[in-house]
Amino acid sequence: MPTSKSEPSGGRRGRCYDLAVIGAGPAGLAAADAAAGLGLRVALVDAGSRPGGQYYRHPAPELGAARPEKLHHGWAAFARLRARLAARPLVDHLPGHHVWAAEAGVPGDEERPWRLHATRGPGAGDRATVLARAVLLATGAHERHLPFPGWTLPGVVTAGGAQAVLKSSLALPGRRIVVAGSGPLLLAAASSLVSAGAEVPAIVEATSYLGYARGLPVLAGNPGKLAEGAAHGARLLRHGVRLRRSSAVVEAHGTDRVTAVTVARLDARWKPVPGSERRIACDALAIGHGLVPQIELATELGAATVTGPDGAVALAVDAEQRTSVPGLWAAGETCGVGGADLALAEGVLAAHAVAGRPAPARERAVRRRRRAFAALMAAAHAPGPDWTGWVTDDTDVCRCEEVPAGEVRAAVAELGAGDARTVKLLTRAGMGWCQGRMCGPAVACLSGGGAGRPDGRPLSCPVPLAQLADPGPESGPA
């Protein structure tokens, strides 16, 4: 897998990759590997500097981590995949490429391939356009944030962010870390944190976990997931970590930094039970409410979506991982959050479909089992409708533009906003640097409109103006 860091060879009109895979996490890596194995010429286009995505995030070699695999479940699978890809000359790895727009091609028309427009850095020349006959979107997911008073204090990090920093720079966000939110990531994060030497006084999980009881057959079909949970559980038990179910952090305290949190019990609708509050001292809070598929590149093209049991919007795909846009495939979290094993399987399935080969039975079986588990998990950890009750009017909902919840509520009640887009227009919530990735789900809930149709986004990430002004070279395989 040649890694291209230099200016890509340009000007090869008419020559293009058979497949461009966007994202080098589990789904993208598996797809690139399988597609090359089937003889396709593949561009693996990734925003990161090293393959692996968020899931297989690992320390830079310069850090000299002795055993990066210690922080990873599934490291062996990644190592195998990476080694296989490295030996595949048909795959060009294009790291550091942030794709800002995917211009749809016309299937079967060699003159009109897909064009992926990417930025590679701040300079005017750091622009790249990748040509391909088909595109696989494997851009993964980002974290769902549900705001609460004090969530912007230093020391409050996301559960995923805490894991990412640990995996990439071997650093901890604090010494005494409360882990809170909802979802299986909490156990994984807490387990990593205690392994790395942190004290975790409590894991605060908003659901009761009773949701899983309704899916016993699904659980029986996913023994690996149970074993994974049991391993985390056993490690946490050894370290005396307490799991508080049906509870939430409803406020973080501190002036310069978080020094304590208030935890309250929740009813079934996630409404805090009055009088149940108790304070836990800590110097960091890792909070996570699951993941939301990152699908802007596809929704901008009008791709059909489905809304999951947790309210998250994902791409609708058929049995061959095809989206509703001709020539665009999707795999992994973009089709609904379901974990690395599912992503690996879907990447392989998508590669076969693109190559016109029959789907392998093993991956089909994995997908069936894991999709069922993902649906169960999404339903079990769906935010309760009354979570907004703990968001006081002066709590900033949008951190980038510093828009408090009270302003969002006024836009709805007084100015006639009925959805997240109008709230954004009237309050600027979601107009800042992160473009609503952080506050989007919260604003949607506060505006009462639900997730709704995703807002079109002609640019999926910021682009230096000079790169828009000067069209760059187009690149296909060398």
Binding site: A124, G456, P462
Partner: protein
Amino acid sequence: MLKRTPYDVVVVGAGVVGAACAYYAARSGLKVAVVDRGPVAGGTTGAGEGNLLVSDKEPGPELDLALLSTRLWRELAEEFGARVEYEPKGGLVVATRPAGTDLLHGLAAQQRAVGVEALPVAADELRTLEPHLAEGLPGGYLYPQDAQVQPALAAAHLLRASGADRYLGEAVTGLLRGPGGSVTGVVTGRRELAAPAVVNAAGTWGGELAALAGVRLPVLPRRGFVLVTEPLPRIVRHKVYAADYVADVASGSADLQSSAVVEGTPAGPVLIGASRERVGFDRTLDPGVLHRLAAQAAALFPVLRTVQVQRAYRGFRPYLPDHLPAIGPDARVPGLHHACGHEGAGIGLAPATGLLVSRRLLGEEPELDLAPFRPERFEGAERLEDAEGES
């Protein structure tokens, strides 16, 4: 719930034009309902830049409307002020070629004759007004009446101040009809709203609403993209655009027309706007359009080459074949009034439109002759439309 409510007028459309109609009608003492299939400012208004321009208009009915609106926006600014981010910042039109200055002199002379303030700016004065403007531009004109509002806030605050009952998220599916085919209200998925008058302020959807009344109003969409930079310190003080823009607005061509209108906003980002294409309601991004906008903005303000474009958005401007809006009662259908087809000038022209519509609702003499805006003026004009419509 099929309950008849005694309104004097039902306005269809909660964009800025519908909101202005509601505002002036309510101020005249009428009982108003506003209905929209989406939220407030959910259509073209929410995708607009908020240009209140006289500078880009040649003398004629649209400029008359714009001059009336300029006065009305000043009054409205007293009432709403900072809440709608009104900024009387003025427009600066620059020539990009020496020949362009002659064009600007000619246009400014005509505009001044009808009451537009236009001050010539010599080449060496340009950078006093706009310190970051490119060097070597041959000259331009300053238009102090040009101003800016934040369109969604303008629509929302006008609508709230009107006190009108809002029925948002309800699409109009039919019209109530009275004796002689008159329109006597609207039907939504949830209710009937009866009123002796219905105002069509449905923007790009205005043609469909007219069709519900059995009449033709050939409103067509004209697509536009706007680029939004990261928040910046105030480096652009006026609305600045190249002289080519004036020609583009009047163009009947289906090709891409773009010349960058560059301006700062109170929140910090610089807006770069005004691509114009006739591609129906096609939402597909054409990177070539973004390229032209960015290149022209960078040609006017080279410093912009060093900034990030944070996002882009698109909208569809509702236009009629002769590029004038439809304003006033429809002679073909008693009870039906129109206030749509403002193309890219709806934010600017909204107050005048609202005021004129309310005059006619009350049977009063309007401030302007509405003849050029007659909604039925396209009757028997199919051939003209074929020649000028989408290709």
